[in-house]
């Protein structure tokens, strides 16, 4: 099937559309929610702040949460794109490769230790008693370890896409069993926290988390831009890449490490939100065609839109309780993905 908007004008239209939708979602995310803070509070906040409760809810809770949502969306989208291009694997995504699982295990271990060391009886929540800045590094260690293990297991002179995906799924399942066991060891009362965290949730995430992964977002964007050229060349065989002067041995691991860092830092604040890294690259290819820079630009924005919209929806659909963002991204992402798959006659190239 031909991409929907392949030419230059079409690309501009696609970007404009995503940006508009993102604007709508940001607006909806600021004025909608369980607490009584809406349009008038936001206008007041922007024009003449009174310091009212409603204004503070918007400024302290809803706005930073939207920021974290968008950051995380960009992280997962770019990570998925890089994985799929470098591994030439349409199934690659942080979850499928076991990287989210590895990062989760590392974070939960740190969580358990952190809690046991500092506040034995207090309720657990991600990084609550760990310095938040530290958590992305812990997640990165877990993600790199898991990713390295999966690639090592699948490496056979080359990386067979199916074998890589299946090794990753296997490792991911081991990881989630490990997380379950650890959470159970914390006690049955933690079941809810575990379920929410394993689904991927933005509940209570704010400026602290946004700032903690901001350097990662910045560095990730810069690095992604820097590796665009070799990344584009890698869509061909290793031989062709070498013939145009690429040191495949050097930059392929580098690109993978960048993707792992993006995914792991995102996992460290929201947990393993699934499907964004898988669905965004396919959508991007379908909409803007084969140009990698365009895929990156569109994909990053679309990822931000997907996660932010899902979180807003999860917050307002069952007030006063929340549906975790990861559950919503899956519930939205899966049907979209399957429709795309059907339209393309089951082919993924």
């Amino acid at each position: 099937m031909r991409p929907l908007l392949e030419d230059r004008l079409g690309f501009a239209a696609a970007m404009l559309l995503v940006l508009t939708l993102l604007g709508v979602v940001l607006l909806a995310g600021t004025i909608l929610g369980a607490a009584n803070a809406g349009w008038s509070e936001m206008v007041a906040l922007l024009t003449a702040p009174q310091g009212s409760v409603g204004e503070r809810i918007i400024a302290i809770y809803r706005l930073p949460r939207l920021i974290v949502a968008m950051q995380v969306g960009v992280h997962f989208a770019l990570a998925g794109l890089i994985f799929q291009v470098v591994l030439r694997n349409p199934l690659a995504d942080p979850t499928v490769l076991g990287i989210s699982g590895g990062a989760s295990v590392a974070v939960v271990i740190a969580m358990t230790w952190g809690v046991n060391l500092f506040m034995p009886e207090a309720p657990t929540q991600t990084g609550q008693y760990l310095p938040m800045d530290l958590v992305p590094f812990i997640a990165l260690a877990g993600g790199l370890l898991a990713g390295g293990l999966v690639l090592w297991l699948s490496w056979n002179g080359d990386l067979d896409p199916t074998r890589t995906a299946l090794s990753g799924v296997a490792l991911g399942a081991v990881a989630s069993a490990a997380v379950m066991a650890m959470v159970l060891a914390m006690g049955n009362s933690q079941a809810e926290v575990a379920l929410i965290w394993l689904a991927g949730s933005l509940y209570g995430r704010g400026y602290e988390e946004a700032l903690a992964i901001l350097p990662w977002t910045g560095a990730g964007l810069v690095a992604a831009a820097l590796i665009l050229r070799p990344l584009g060349a890698s869509r061909f065989d290793a031989d062709i890449a070498r013939s145009i002067g690429l040191e495949t041995r050097l930059w392929r691991p580098l690109a993978l490490a960048i993707a792992v860092a993006l995914a792991a830092s995102a996992v460290s604040v929201v947990g393993p939100v699934g499907f964004v890294g898988l669905v965004v690259p396919h959508t991007a290819r379908l909409v803007v065609g084969s140009s990698l820079p365009r895929q990156m630009a569109f994909g990053a924005l679309f990822g931000a839109l997907l996660v932010a919209a899902s979180d807003v929806l999860g917050r307002i659909v069952a007030v006063p309780v929340e549906v975790p963002v990861g559950a919503v991204t899956s519930l939205i992402g899966v049907p979209v993905f399957l429709i795309l798959l059907q339209q393309r006659g089951g082919s993924l190239k």
Binding site: L91, V96, L149, L153, S154, W155, N156, T162, R163, A165, L166, S167, V169, A170, L171, A173, V174, S176, A177, A178, M180, A181, L184, A185, N188, A191, E192, L195, I196, L198, A199, G274, F275, A318, V321, E322, V323, P324, G326, A327, V328, T329, S330, L331, V334, P335, F337, L338, L341, Q342, G345, G346, L348
Partner: protein, 334 residues
Amino acid sequence: MMFPYPRSTLVAALSATLLTAAMIHTLGQGSFDTTPWRALELLVADDGSQTAFVVRDLRLPRALVAALVGAALAMAGLIVQTVMRNPLGDPGLMGVTAGAAFAVATVFIYIAGNTLILMPAGVVGGVIAAAITLLLARQSGFAPLQLTLAGMAVSIFFVAATSAVILINRTALQTLYFWLIGGFINRTWTEFIFLWPWVLAGLASGVALARRLDLLQFDDDVSRALGAKAAQWRVGFLGLAVILTAASVAAAGPIGFIGFAVPHLTRWLIGAEAAAGGHGLLMPMVALNGATLTLGTDALVRSGIFDKQLPAGVLTSFMGGLLLLVFLRRMRRA
């Protein structure tokens, strides 16, 4: 002849011995400690004591459910691996487990918490999810990659739907939690009576049709040339795997990786030569080893080496997953 290979015979004998030993051991062990011999006596003759009740109505059904679930999942795994020509296939990859979990959670929250209603609901949910997966992969002629992809997507969808339903109705969580993780804690005769007809019928048809499965491991062209209606048989076998899995999940919750690991473990134990001999040998062997491994795991959990509340499902996932990584590594070298 059933066991033309001496090594296979040895493995079968060993597995059967282990299964019996685990069964007897698990009957005598627990907070009402008795000797295995005494437990066997109580099985034959109910003396009306509390210990007799514990052995006959708590430990025995739990052990039987574990063995049935293990056999069913292992055979389902073998079928899926052969039909999808995917060495890492697992019934869970078709969305069966996630669909069953969603159905059980939804019915529990919105309709009724009765086990006799929940279990059929789980079967229906698992079958529906697998049907969606098959429908989505139909276009590609059930090609392995498309099947895996569709199944994964369907799984993710139902897992998400389950956590959404539960988190909107949080009071249900404590009750549903242990079911969702999977294990044999508190499984009684109710579960066994529900489970055995499905599993026995499934296992019997699996063994009876094993020769057909041999034809499906080749490409469609080859199978067609050999006279098999490849597509029909493929769907038929997947249907069998789905029924076996859905019934198991409905009774015990998701028990991870048994379907994944046992076929590989069995091939490795009996050797490549015997494994290539066909499914006539593999099917019963895999079912037996599945029962042994699952019951053994539950016995291990009950023995108190780990936290006693640790569900068997967590342990099987952990062990099976690790085993699988070892196999992947071996496959790489081969």
